[in-house]
C-alpha cells in the first residue's frame, strides 16, 4: 500500500511543483518506489521541472478516458531508478478529470509504489480538490507572505472536511507545513514573517524550510529537480525535508543568517 501525499497550497506560484518534484526525487533517491502525478489539467508543468517534457506521449486524462493504459502513460525518470512521472493533460476540458477515474488510477498505483506524490493545481477548484481527496498526508507549501499564509489556512480547512479521510470519519489527513522562499536576512530586518509566526498562525507541524535560493531557478532551467543539486542550500533543505517525511529527526538549517567569515567576505561568498 502506497502512502498518498498531496503537495498543495491554494495560492499559485509558491513552489508546489518545484516541491513536488524535489520531494518525489528525494523519496526515490532514498530507495522508495515513487510516482509523482501532475493534477494541473490544462497547465501541465511538472514534466518540465522533471525534465521529461519531450517524452510525454500519454497523460492522466488519456488513462482516465481509456485511451491508454497506465503503464503507457507513466514516464520512467532518467536519473533515478525508482521514480515515475504521470503527466497532466493539456486539454482545456476541466471535466476530463473524474473522481472515479482518479480513484481507479490511485488504486492501481498503490499496489506497485511506496509513495504517490500528487502535485495539486493552484486554487480550490475541482483539480485541487481531486488532488487532495485521496491523500493520507498533505504538504502545505507556504511563502512567508500574507496571501500565501491565508490561502494555506483555507486549504487546511478543506483538508479537514473535503477529503476521503474526513468524509469516512477516518484518522484525519496528516498536515505538514513546508515554508519556501524564506529569506533570513529579510526576516532579521523585520520585513518578512518569521518561521515561528507562520507556524503559530497555521498551527501545524513544520516539515521543512526551503531558503530563497538561486539554485531553484537553475534547477528548473535545466529540468533537474533541485534535490540533485547537493551543493546548494535548497537542495540540502529538500533532502532534509524528505528525511523528516520518512520520520527521521533532522535539525533545521538555513533559517538563520550566515555570519560571513573574512575569506567569504573577501571572495564573495561562493555558490548559494
Amino acid at each position: 500500500m502506497a502512502k498518498i501525499i498531496v503537495v498543495t497550497s491554494g495560492k499559485g506560484g509558491v513552489g508546489k511543483t518545484t516541491s513536488a518534484a524535489a520531494i518525489a526525487t528525494g523519496l526515490a533517491l532514498r530507495g522508495k518506489k515513487t510516482v509523482v502525478i501532475d493534477f494541473d489539467v490544462g497547465l501541465r508543468n511538472l514534466d518540465l521541472i522533471m525534465g521529461c517534457e519531450r517524452r510525454v506521449v500519454y497523460d492522466l486524462v488519456n488513462v482516465i478516458q481509456g485511451e491508454a493504459g497506465l503503464n503507457q502513460a507513466l514516464i520512467r525518470d532518467k536519473r533515478v531508478d525508482n521514480l515515475h512521472i504521470l503527466p497532466a493533460s493539456q486539454t482545456r476540458d476541466k471535466d476530463a478529470l473524474t473522481q472515479e477515474g482518479v480513484e481507479k488510477i490511485l488504486e492501481t498505483l498503490t499496489k506497485d509504489f511506496d509513495y504517490i506524490v500528487c502535485d495539486s493545481p493552484a486554487g480550490i477548484e475541482r483539480g485541487a480538490q481531486l488532488a487532495m481527496y485521496y491523500a493520507d498526508e498533505a504538504v502545505v507549501v507556504t511563502n512567508p507572505e500574507v496571501s500565501s499564509v491565508r490561502d494555506s489556512d483555507r486549504i487546511l480547512g478543506l483538508l479537514a472536511s473535503k477529503t476521503r479521510r474526513a468524509e469516512n470519519g477516518q484518522e484525519p489527513v496528516k498536515e505538514h507545513l513546508l515554508i519556501t522562499r524564506y529569506n533570513p536576512a529579510r526576516v532579521d530586518h523585520g520585513d518578512m514573517l518569521n518561521l515561528d509566526d507562520i507556524q503559530e498562525i497555521l498551527a501545524i507541524d513544520l516539515l521543512g524550510l526551503i531558503p530563497e535560493s538561486e539554485a531553484v531557478l537553475r534547477a528548473s532551467n535545466q529540468g533537474i529537480p533541485v534535490t540533485h543539486d547537493n551543493d546548494s542550500d535548497a537542495g540540502q533543505a529538500y533532502t532534509d525535508t524528505v528525511s523528516r517525511l520518512l520520520g527521521e529527526k533532522v535539525p533545521l538549517r538555513f533559517h538563520e543568517t550566515q555570519k560571513k567569515g573574512l575569506l567569504s567576505r573577501m571572495f564573495g561568498g561562493g555558490r548559494r
Binding site: V146, V149, R150, R154, G157, V187, D191, L193
Partner: protein, 83 residues
C-alpha cells in the same frame, strides 16, 4: 519624519503588521469553517429584511451558530443606530 520615527523606535516592522493582520483574518476564516454553507446567504437576507425597517450598516449585523450536543443556537446581533 522617517528619521524621527527611527530615532523614537516607533516604526512598526512590516512583518509584525503582517502577523497581526493574518491572526485576525485567519481567526475569522476558521469561525466560518464549520458553519453550514447557507450561512452567508442567511446573513445577507436577514440584513435585507432588517434594512426594510431600520437603516443599519453592513457590519452592524453579527450572526453565529453555536452547536451544543443536542441543539444549535443561532445568535443574531444587530446594532441599531441611536434615533
Amino acid at each position: 519624519m522617517k528619521l524621527l520615527e527611527f530615532l523614537k523606535g516607533e516604526r512598526k516592522k512590516t512583518a509584525s503588521v503582517a502577523k497581526e493582520r493574518l491572526q485576525i483574518i485567519v481567526a475569522h476564516q476558521r469561525g466560518q469553517r464549520d458553519q453550514p454553507d447557507y450561512m452567508p446567504m442567511l446573513e445577507r437576507e436577514l440584513l435585507e429584511v432588517i434594512r426594510r425597517y431600520v437603516k443599519v450598516e453592513q457590519d452592524a449585523i453579527n450572526i453565529s451558530l453555536d452547536r451544543d450536543d443536542d441543539c444549535s443556537v443561532l445568535e443574531l446581533n444587530v446594532t441599531l443606530p441611536r434615533s
